[in-house]
Structure formats: C-alpha cells, structure tokens
C-alpha cells in the first residue's frame, strides 16, 4: 500500500461520549488509511464504533460526543485541528456523507432541488438558477428519470431508493474526493440495494473518488471494497485487502463473523456462532476486548491488551491478536467455513 497515494489517514482516533453512567469511549485508538480512488470498508456489528468513527472524521458527532485524541489527516491537514468554518468548507465539498435512513435524511419541507442546490450554492458560490440546473444534471447522473420534474418534488413523493439516489446526488454535487457511505443500503430492499451499490461503484469509476463504506453486511464488503477494517468494541481488530480478509482471515473475531453468517449462495451444515455478547462500554475487559468470547483465548489474552500489529513487511495487513505475536508459543486450532486450520505464533 505504500506505493499507493493515500488521501485520508486516521491515526489513533479516540472518541468519547458523556452519558449518565459516566464517560464512554466509543472509539478507542482507531487507525486506518484511505487510498486514493479506492473503497475501504469499515465493518462491524452494532456498538463496534464504526458509525462514530465516520462521524468523528467529519466532526458531526452529537453534542455529548467529543474526539479526545488522535488525528485525521486529509491531504496532510489534521481535520480535528481546523476551525469550524474551515471544516464547513470541507463538508459536502471535499468530503461528503450519505446515511442509512434515506426516508428521514432529507428535509421534508424543502424540494429535492432546493436541497441539492443548497450544497452547490454554498460551495460553488453559484446563483439560484445555475445551482438548480446543476441539480437537474446531478439527478440525471444518479439515474433518476425525468429529473426536471423530480427537482420540484418533495422527499415524501419519492420512494426509498429514489431518496437514496437524491442523497447521493447531493453528496456528489461538488465533486468530493471522499464519499463516506454510512450503511447506505441497510434500510433498502435487496433489489434496490443492488441498484444503489451498482450506482456508487459506477460513479466512483467515473469520478475517481475514494469511498469509505461503513456496513455490517459482509456481502456488501466483499462486493464493493478494496480494503477492509474490521472493528470490534471500538477498535480495529483486523485490516487487510478484501481478498485476504475473506480467503485468509486471521483474527478470531473475523473468523467468528464468517462462521456465523448464514449464506444464500452455498449450503452450510451448521452455523458456528460467537458465544456471549459484545462487552458493555462501561465494563471493557482489561485484556483483549474479544477474549471473553474468543475460542482460543489464553491467560495472556485476558490480562493484556494486544496492539494492532503489522504482519508481513508493509502495513497492508494489520491484526490485533496475541496469536500472531512473538509472545505466543505453540499452535492453535481455528475453524473457518467448516474446516480446521492451524495457526502458529
């Protein structure tokens, strides 16, 4: 990955939330790199901190959330240190975001055209008329039929799939360099999901932007991403290219996810679930956060937290597990897709 130009580098990001039961560290030391023109997936289950990570990048956290440390380098500039005004010039312009719920993410009292052209007016400093005609162009770009008619419509007059297209049109109106897509298809039916994923991929090829795809769906990851960061309990536990992640996953949590996933494309005898459940953010384990649910955890895992280690020469594969460190001796047996595999420390 070194030879590849990176556009965004997230380093040791720490985000906390003030709650009634005290401070909760929702994101704890997350690092990853977004290569130019590529798609990186951030995958994890609820509570893993994947959405908080994406909101932290654009500094869109709710008022009780705060980024406590780390850096978010966008073309060398640390976004966390920018003034609010400078940050606004980046949002919707150089880095855009689309969200999970297309039904509620558009303002119900303004037309589609008014909402798209608002972005254009802010960032491109264009007048009403030009902004509106560019909005029509954007709707055409995202494949909305009769865009001249649609710009004058209100969100409630559109279906869920159409609204997500409008969100995409709005996000791409100013040619951003990065599109953050936070579960963009989770609320949609599969046939509509297919349309939207296809659209994002197609637009990425045409416009050359980078995409950060936040999802819980491993199928979406396999189809759309070049690189993947797997998150668990606020940390990245594995980072690799997408082929390695599915063919040769290393972290026991990643293995567990793949083993519990019911597949529609192959027959499986039995699912192997991960036992137990995600730790409460108020009671994080001292050692490896996955240790209480891990089938191969040892005393070391329960006592001491592993670092995110690079395996191999460059940073293309990283893993947060003692099993792949020098401290680990002996062999462990793990299961993947119903087959046993042996891991040597």
């Amino acid at each position: 990955m070194n030879e590849m130009e990176s556009i965004l580098v997230v380093n040791n990001l720490q985000t906390s939330f003030g709650t009634e039961a005290g401070e909760v560290r929702a994101v704890d030391g997350v690092s990853f790199t977004v290569p130019k023109g590529k798609t990186i997936g951030i995958v994890g289950e609820s509570g893993s901190g994947k959405s908080i990570t994406s909101l932290s990048i654009l500094r869109l956290l709710a008022s009780n959330g705060k980024t406590k440390g780390g850096e978010v380098l966008f073309k060398g500039k640390d976004l966390l240190k920018l003034s609010e005004k400078a940050m606004r010039e980046i949002r919707g312009n150089q880095i855009s975001m689309i969200f999970q719920e297309p039904m509620t993410s558009l303002n119900p009292v303004y037309t589609v055209g008014q909402q798209i052209s608002e972005t254009i007016k802010i960032h491109k400093k264009l007048g009403n008329k030009e902004a509106m005609s560019q909005s029509v162009e954007m709707l055409k770009l995202v494949g909305i039929p009769s865009p001249e008619k649609r710009v004058k419509q209100y969100p409630h007059e559109l279906s869920g799939g159409m609204r997500q297209r409008v969100m995409i049109a709005m996000a791409l109106a100013c040619d951003p360099e990065i599109l953050i897509a936070d579960e963009p298809t989770t609320a949609l039916d599969v046939t509509i999901q297919a349309q939207i994923l296809e659209l994002i991929k197609d637009l990425q090829n045409r416009l050359g932007m980078s995409v950060i795809m936040i999802t819980h769906d491993l199928g979406v990851v396999a189809e759309t991403c070049d690189y993947v960061a797997v998150m668990y309990a606020g940390q990245v536990v594995e980072y690799s290219d997408v082929r390695t992640l599915f063919k040769n996953p290393k972290h026991p949590y990643t293995l567990g996810l793949l083993n519990s996933l019911p597949r529609h494309d192959v027959d499986q005898e039995k699912l192997i679930p991960i036992k137990g459940m995600v730790p409460s953010p108020h009671e994080m384990p001292v050692g490896c956060r996955f240790a209480p649910r891990c089938p191969v955890a040892t005393e070391l895992c329960h006592k001491k937290q592993p670092d995110l280690l690079s395996t191999g020469g460059d940073n293309s594969e990283q893993i947060r597990c003692w099993m792949y460190s020098e401290e680990w001796d002996g062999e462990s047996e793990v299961t993947l897709y119903g087959e046993k595999r042996t891991v040597k420390g």
Binding site: E89, I90, M97, F99, S105, N107, V109, I122, Y154, M167
Partner: protein, 317 residues
C-alpha cells in the same frame, strides 16, 4: 388547494349548526323565565305573557330555533333587552376592540415565545435554558387577573416593591383602550404572558425534537452553517406544531379577554358579555357567544390551511 379550502368550509357547517343549537339553548339553560327576567321584577302577569307571546316563547322549541337561525343568517340577532338596540350593532362597536387586543397579545406571545423557545432549544441544558424555562413556568402558572392587578399596582399606580420610584417613561394608564400606547401595553402583557410561555415551551420541545432528526445531520454534513441549520432547516419543521398552538392561543385570547377587559375597563366584547350576563340580557349573550365561536372556527380553519404551506407531507386531499 382550493378544493381543500372549499371542503374545509363545508365541514364547518355542521360545527356552526351545533354551535347555534348550543347558543340557542342558552335561553333555556339559564335559570329563570326569560320573559319574566326581561319584563323585570315587578311586571304584571299579563305583561310577561304578552312579552312571551311577542318573543314567540310559546312556540315549540324547534320553531323558535328555526326562527333564531333564520334571523341569525340574515345578520339579525335580535335586540338588546337593556338598550333596545340591535345586538349586531352592540357587538360591532365592541368587536374590533377585542380583536385588536387579541392580535396585539398574539404578536407579543409569538414574538417572545418563539425567541425564548429557540434560544432555549439551541442552548439546551445550559443555565440560559433553565432560566428561560423557569420564567416560562411562572408565566404559565400566573392567573392573569392577578398579573393584571399587579401590573396596575406597579406601573399605573407606581407602587413598586422596595419603595422604588417608577420612571416617567414606564408610567402606564390603568384603564381604557386605544387612546395611547400607555393604555395598550399593560392589558396586552396581561393577556399575552400565558400564551408566550406556552409558545416558548412548545417551540423548545419541538425544536429539540427536530434538531435530533437525521435531516439536520444531513444539513450539517453539507457544510451548512449552524445559523442556517437552525433557522432554515430546523425552524420551519419545528413551527408546524407551534402554529396550532398559536391559533388556539389567539382563539383563547378572544374568549379569554373577558377578565383582562374587566380589569382594565376596556369596552370590548368580553365586557359586553359579562355585563349582558349580569343583566340577563339574553339576546346579547347569545350574540357574543355566537360571534366568538364563529371566530374560533375561522381561526382553526386558517391554522389548518397554514399547515399546507408549512408541511408538504400532509396530503390535504
């Protein structure tokens, strides 16, 4: 849109019919024989009977109602028992005063209520928010006859607490209406305070709800400044429930002006009603209640129509 307005207008017909029946039955609900009351204490049996015949009180109820309704539709609400003048004339003279008081009170309530509510919502859980909400609670719980008397004590009679002096500029007149701004301010504050408090609380909770919506996050993600997020994206949505409250408050001011008008000796409809009730002037009571109800219905209709402009999701047809 026109179709919707026509439909809504048609729908008010049954409401108005119901109101007219209620108003008509006032005659029978109020204790005592109307003819006896109108004729006066010492009237002879014969005079009362003649009067009853003249008023048609011997006819069956539905005939009386039909006559009442027929006359009312032609703008004839009968004559006042006391003054002998047509009820419509009596009302017309007072009507605009009451409307004026209510309009000023509404403007005050909306102005203060909206600003306080927005500030409170934007700075929620801060000292500002808490202070505004405590003041609103006071405004809400203060009976307005008491507030009126207090204001008269302080700003008209100059009896400020702690022996403070009342500056000349703040000196108000305790009674009447319309001659100078010094007459207008106290009654408007008296009438509008409760409404301002309700609107402030409503605006705050509505704004807080809207600020938590996904589309507000979308607006921020577009790079929209915080001021525009609040005023363009949040406020228009937050106003939708507030508009109902404003409409209801205005209606309430029209009917609720009774106390304020009495305290400040304003010759409005409220006072007309009170005097008419006291004097058993039934035609006037019927007339004022009918007019106030009619106004209420119209205000509600306007509120519903303003929804159309604010909220595109309500399918009016």
């Amino acid at each position: 849109m026109t179709k919707y307005i026509i439909r809504r207008l048609l729908q008010t017909i049954p409401v108005l019919l119901g109101v007219s029946i209620l108003v008509f039955s006032l005659m029978f609900l109020i204790p005592g024989d109307p003819a006896q009351v109108m004729a006066g204490e010492g009237a002879s049996e014969q005079t009362v009977e003649n009067l009853r015949e003249k008023l048609g009180l011997n006819d069956p109820a539905y005939v009386q109602y039909g006559r009442f309704l027929g006359n009312a539709l032609q703008g004839d609400l009968g004559n006042s028992v006391r003054s002998g003048r047509p009820v419509m004339d009596e009302i017309q003279a007072r009507f605009w005063i009451t409307v004026e008081v209510a309009v000023y009170a509404t403007i005050l309530a909306v102005f203060i209520g909206l600003i306080a509510g927005i500030i409170s919502a934007v700075r929620h859980y801060t000292l500002t928010d808490v202070s505004i909400m405590i003041i609103a609670l006071f405004g809400l719980s203060m009976p307005n006859f008491w507030l009126g008397l207090l204001l008269i004590q302080w700003f008209a009679l100059g009896n400020l607490p702690f022996g403070w002096d009342l500056p000349e500029i703040l000196k108000m007149r305790p009674s009447g209406w319309g001659d100078s701004w010094r007459q207008i301010i106290l009654p408007v504050i008296t009438l509008g305070t409760g409404g301002a408090a309700i609107i402030a609380r409503m605006t705050r909770s509505s704004m807080l709800e809207v600020i938590g919506q996904d589309y507000i996050r979308t607006a921020r993600a577009k790079g929209v400044s915080e001021r525009i997020v609040i005023y363009r994206h949040a406020l228009k949505n937050a106003l939708i429930p507030v508009v109902t409250v404003i409409g209801l408050e205005f209606g309430g001011f029209l009917g609720g002006a009774v106390l304020t008008e009495t305290i400040f000796a304003i010759n409005g409809m409220g006072r007309l009603t009170i005097d008419a009730i006291r004097q058993r002037d039934f035609p006037v009571v019927q007339g004022t209640v009918l007019v106030i109800s009619l106004l209420f219905v119209i205000v509600n209709l306007l509120v519903d129509i303003s929804y159309k402009f604010l909220n595109k999701r309500i399918d009016l047809n």
